[in-house]
């Protein structure tokens, strides 16, 4: 899932200082699961904003709505009838959701309430770890299911580097060395051959905005732009 962190309160407060009526929009998918931007987080943030603005003698009227997914038009539609009543929208969705919302209401100031952080996994409630940088050419098949792009601090394709330190990465004893783990797992699976070969340079595909059109879904509209 996409993992996000709530932005610092002062930053959010500053975004909204000139607005009297703001809609806080949560997202019910990734950011809700990672406890950053779901219904509950919307309520907490609104309570904070309400109190802070009262203390400033600058009260604010806050609306709250959490939709299934802000990255999906089908669900965003639910906001159409509401957004007009507000001066601004504060979105707690991931960066993609926020942009899709802003794109739908181009006249309306839209602000991020979270810092979108990574694609990761749920280690435990409230504890998430990054696993993928969406590089567009997955090498997990070579590397025993451990991503060198994300988990190696240098994103090496032919690791480990000379800094690998008794199983830890050179950057910290608490950070496992991805290449140490890759070696160990491949070795147990008798697949060391995979990394005895030199992995050639990457054709980086994440250096410009990417579009995916799944096979069978081409239309004159979506393929004309490409």
């Amino acid at each position: 899932m996409i993992v996000a962190k709530r932005k610092p309160f002062d930053e959010i407060k500053d975004f909204l200082k000139d607005y009297k009526k703001v809609l806080t929009a949560g997202c019910g998918t990734c950011v809700a699961v990672c406890l950053a931007g779901g219904e509950k987080e919307v309520a907490v943030l609104n309570a904070e904003l309400d109190m802070a603005r009262r203390l400033d003698d600058n009260p604010i009227e806050l609306g709250a709505i959490t939709i299934e997914r802000q990255c999906d038009r089908e669900y965003l539609e639910a906001l159409d009838s509401m957004v007009g009543d507000y001066d601004a929208v504060l979105s707690l969705a991931c960066g993609a959701g926020i942009q899709f919302l802003a794109e739908r209401y181009p006249e309306k100031p839209v602000f991020p309430g979270v810092d979108t952080t990574f694609i990761g996994v749920n280690q435990d409630v409230g504890w998430y770890e990054e696993r993928c940088r969406s590089c567009s050419s997955c090498v997990l098949g070579l590397t025993a299911g451990i991503c060198p792009v994300t988990m190696c601090a240098k994103g090496l394709y032919n690791g480990p580097c000379g800094g690998t330190n008794k199983g830890s990465c050179e950057i910290s004893k608490d950070q496992p060395c991805a290449w140490y783990m890759i070696y160990e797992r491949l070795s147990k699976q008798n697949r060391l051959d995979n990394i005895l070969k030199i992995t050639p340079v990457q054709d980086w595909q994440n250096q410009k905005p990417r579009t995916v059109i799944q096979p069978g879904y081409k239309t004159s509209e979506n393929s004309a732009e490409k």
Binding site: F9, K40, M51, L55
Partner: protein
């Protein structure tokens, strides 16, 4: 047993402090309470494993949230005691009341 604790405290019963949510605590302050505190079982003695530990984390979180917006975090506290410790309960209640008296009324009331 009649316990002598301040009469201006409103008690809300929950099955486990693990059920106490950030929003419950925050809303109490938002609605004008001068302070709010959770009383849970002793740490390590939670019937539901670690409900009281989670509650402490949440209390700490709410304290930070309040500080962020300019309200004293110490208006929110967590206490632990074992069941049947009536006098300790009363003592904590008095301590909390003293604490709030020192902090003064909820600043939101003047706004």
């Amino acid at each position: 047993m009649r316990l002598d604790y301040p009469s201006n405290i409103k008690i809300i019963r929950v099955p486990c402090t693990g059920k106490v949510d950030v929003m419950h605590l925050l809303r109490a302050i938002q609605k004008g309470a001068d302070g709010v505190y959770a009383v849970g079982c002793l740490e390590g003695a939670c019937h539901y494993n670690e409900g009281n530990l989670r509650a402490r984390e949440r209390v700490n979180h709410v304290r930070r949230l309040l500080e962020e917006i300019g309200i004293e975090g110490d208006r929110v506290r967590m206490y632990n005691l074992s069941s049947g410790e009536g006098p300790t309960f009363a003592a904590y209640a008095r301590e909390m009341a003293e604490n709030i008296k020192a902090l003064g009324p909820n600043p939101l009331k003047q706004h």
